[in-house]
């Protein structure tokens, strides 16, 4: 399926779900002739219109280029790699409140750099230790923003 059509269908699903959630909202006018549903309903309608427009354009274009065959896949796509980095981030955020910002930051940076900045062990270790510490000091000590201390003593 062409990307354009896939996007149009996804937009239609999002619009449908949003309109359903809007419809399920309680009706409380309280002197407000509009109520809390009208504006979200208009947003849902806008999304549906966008989906229809995309579908219309995709079908028109498809007819025009039917003889050219399917478009080539994007050679830059590496969704699995992105997903793995994303999961690495999620696991670090899970550890964030338990281990504290400084320690989880060091683990995150150490892991990330040892994969993406290979072979520079000394530099990577220095960055992984001092950057999180520096950020921690700027945010916590200078700006007074509370960050979870976790298992470290400071």
């Amino acid at each position: 399926m062409n990307r354009q059509i896939l996007l149009a269908l996804a937009a239609a699903v999002v619009a449908g779900s949003y309109l359903f959630a809007t419809w399920a909202l309680p009706t409380l006018s309280l002197g407000d002739p509009v109520g809390q549903k009208l504006f979200p309903a208009l947003i849902g309608a806008l999304m549906l219109a966008a989906s229809g427009l995309l579908l219309f354009n995709a079908c028109r274009r498809r007819r025009a280029v039917a003889s050219d065959g399917p478009p080539p896949a994007d050679s830059e796509d590496r969704p699995v790699a992105v997903l793995l980095v994303w999961l690495w981030l999620i696991s670090i955020v899970v550890a964030f409140e338990i281990l504290g910002f400084a320690l989880s930051g060091m683990i995150f940076m150490g892991g990330f750099l040892s994969y993406f900045h290979r072979g520079r062990h000394g530099i990577n270790a220095a960055i992984a230790i001092f950057v999180p510490l520096g950020v921690y000091l700027v945010f916590k000590r200078m700006l007074g923003i509370p960050l979870p201390p976790g298992v470290l003593w400071f």
Binding site: L25, D32, L89, M109, F116
Partner: protein, 502 residues
């Protein structure tokens, strides 16, 4: 009247030039720039964080320092938008549209210099306008009721949807999605939660900064991860001169002047804010450009106009604050709190009752802008060198600072998860070539837009005629329609003209 203004300004300079005021002005602009560069800490949070530092100071000195933090942070936001595609606030989103592509093409130094000079020139323009036309303009701003605001927001959204990206449908998807996210949280009129699905953290809605950091900074890292696997990830060294070329300087002059004017006028309207000012300035520039197709690929005009509008809108925002006591944005609301804290009530009488403070503050802005320029221009080279950092190290630092910046918004891990979710969404948007600015604008304006819409209909007892009842609403509606259909008609006509004759 002009003689009066000059004597007031001379008096203001005598106050602003006092050594302690100059010192704290410098500290304010310096800290503001630094804070603005950190994702998650915008001017409002910066002022709130540093407000306790000013306790015990003379009120004039304190307010001069706080105002310095305000416009310093507005400039600092642009540095991270240009260098690492991480706008710290909605008002820097449009700067990243062309600033970041310029940096990727090796023109980071030029983009930063354009940004610094545009901010200085437009900021100075804005202060002159603030000195001269503050009172008449505040009367104009009073003519904007809920229907006018609603139509202004409709115009802003239609302009940005049509001017970013190549597909109207995709722009509409981005816009509608932003409006959907903006509708999450407590409905202000009925006090009922909407679309929160029982999650307590969503009752206050989705924080704009969380979304911005996710869809810009985190999504950019994901794109770089892909490039790394492809072997295409390299630093973006400066190509050619570090400074602006003659051509870049020439092309920035009129966008700065036009952007400054648009920014100031929009800044005067309470609630419109810097984001809409930058979008309208960008839209105007793209409209008048002979090469509109180059916008978004790294044009100096695309940096100069929004940067000018951003800084001028900051000055414009002081008009309703000082003359009406009405804060036009979250940051000016915090500043209003600071005024009240120091026993000063902004409003129509302020110019008469506290001339020292008003004119000292206004004149300190001239000096603050000059300081920002002197502080930042020599640092352009240093900031641009940041891009020589190995990309993997830069990616790790961006993710770390994005995480801590997001966490610091509410001291809440939920926001960090949300940011990571929006990071994936931003990655998806890029893959499907969906423009991101319409979503950000919708998120900024969605709440106020719904409020204006509902207030208008309450005032008119449900009659939709209220949206075409005044000259301002009709003009804005016409501009919205033209901004949507104008380019479509234009491209159809151009296609027909270029089609071969049968």
């Amino acid at each position: 009247m002009s003689a009066d203004i000059f004597s007031h300004m001379a008096h203001g300079f005598s106050i602003a030039l006092q050594l302690d005021n100059l010192l704290f002005l410098f500290i304010g602009t310096f800290l503001g720039t630094f804070i603005g560069m950190l994702p998650g800490i915008g001017p409002a949070a910066g002022i709130s964080l540093l407000l306790p530092v000013t306790f015990g100071m003379d009120p004039i000195t304190a307010l001069i320092m706080l105002a310095g933090i305000y416009y310093g942070a507005m400039y600092g936001n642009s540095i991270s938008a240009i260098l690492i595609n991480t706008p710290g606030a909605g008002s820097a989103v449009m700067t990243s549209m062309d600033g970041y592509p310029m940096a990727q093409k090796g023109r980071a130094g030029a983009a930063l210099a354009i940004s610094a000079i545009a901010s200085f020139v437009a900021g100075t323009m804005g202060i002159i306008l603030l000195s001269v036309v503050a009172l008449p303009l505040s009367n104009f701003a009073l003519r904007f009721g809920p229907p006018e605001y609603f139509m202004l927001m409709v115009f802003g959204m239609s302009a940005v949807t049509m001017l970013t990206g190549n597909s109207v449908g995709k722009g509409m998807i981005s816009l509608a999605f932003g409006l959907m996210v903006a509708s999450v949280g407590i409905d202000l009129q009925s006090a009922q939660p909407r679309f929160t699905f029982g999650v307590a953290e969503l009752l206050d809605g989705v924080n704009l900064v969380v979304v911005i950091i996710g869809v810009f900074a985190v999504a950019e890292v994901f794109r770089n991860v892909e490039l790394w696997f492809k072997g295409d990830l390299k630093p973006s060294p400066i190509s050619g001169r570090l400074w602006m070329t003659k051509d870049e300087r020439r092309r920035s002059v009129f966008p700065v002047l036009r952007g400054g004017l648009v920014g100031f006028v929009v800044g005067v309207l309470p609630g419109a804010g810097g984001a809409i000012a930058t979008i309208l300035a960008y839209a105007l520039e793209k409209r008048v450009s002979k090469t509109p197709e180059k916008f978004g690929t790294g044009t100096p005009e695309g940096v100069a106009a929004p940067e000018a509008a951003n800084n001028a809108s900051t000055c414009g925002a002081f008009v309703p604050l000082l003359t009406l006591g009405v804060p036009g944005s979250g940051t000016t609301a915090v500043l209003l709190g600071a005024f009240i804290l120091y026993g000063v009530q902004p409003g129509p009488q302020l110019f008469a009752t506290h001339p020292d403070l008003v004119w000292g503050l206004i004149d300190s802005m001239y000096l603050g802008n000059l300081m920002l320029l002197m502080l930042n221009l020599p640092l352009v080279g240093l900031f641009a060198r940041l891009l020589y950092t190995p990309p993997a190290v830069l990616m790790a630092v961006i993710l770390l600072v994005a995480t801590v910046g997001t966490y610091s918004l509410n001291n809440n891990v939920f926001d960090v998860y949300l940011m990571l979710g929006f990071g994936l969404l931003g990655y998806g948007f890029r893959k499907f070539d969906i423009p991101i600015p319409p979503m950000i604008l919708a998120l900024v304006l969605g709440g106020p837009m719904e409020q204006s819409f509902r207030q208008s209909l309450v005032l008119s007892q449900g009659s939709w005629d209220v949206f075409v009842a005044s000259g301002i609403t009709i003009a804005l509606l016409t501009m919205s329609i033209l901004s949507v259909f104008g380019p479509i008609v234009q491209s159809r006509l151009a296609a027909r003209r270029s089609a071969p004759a049968p």
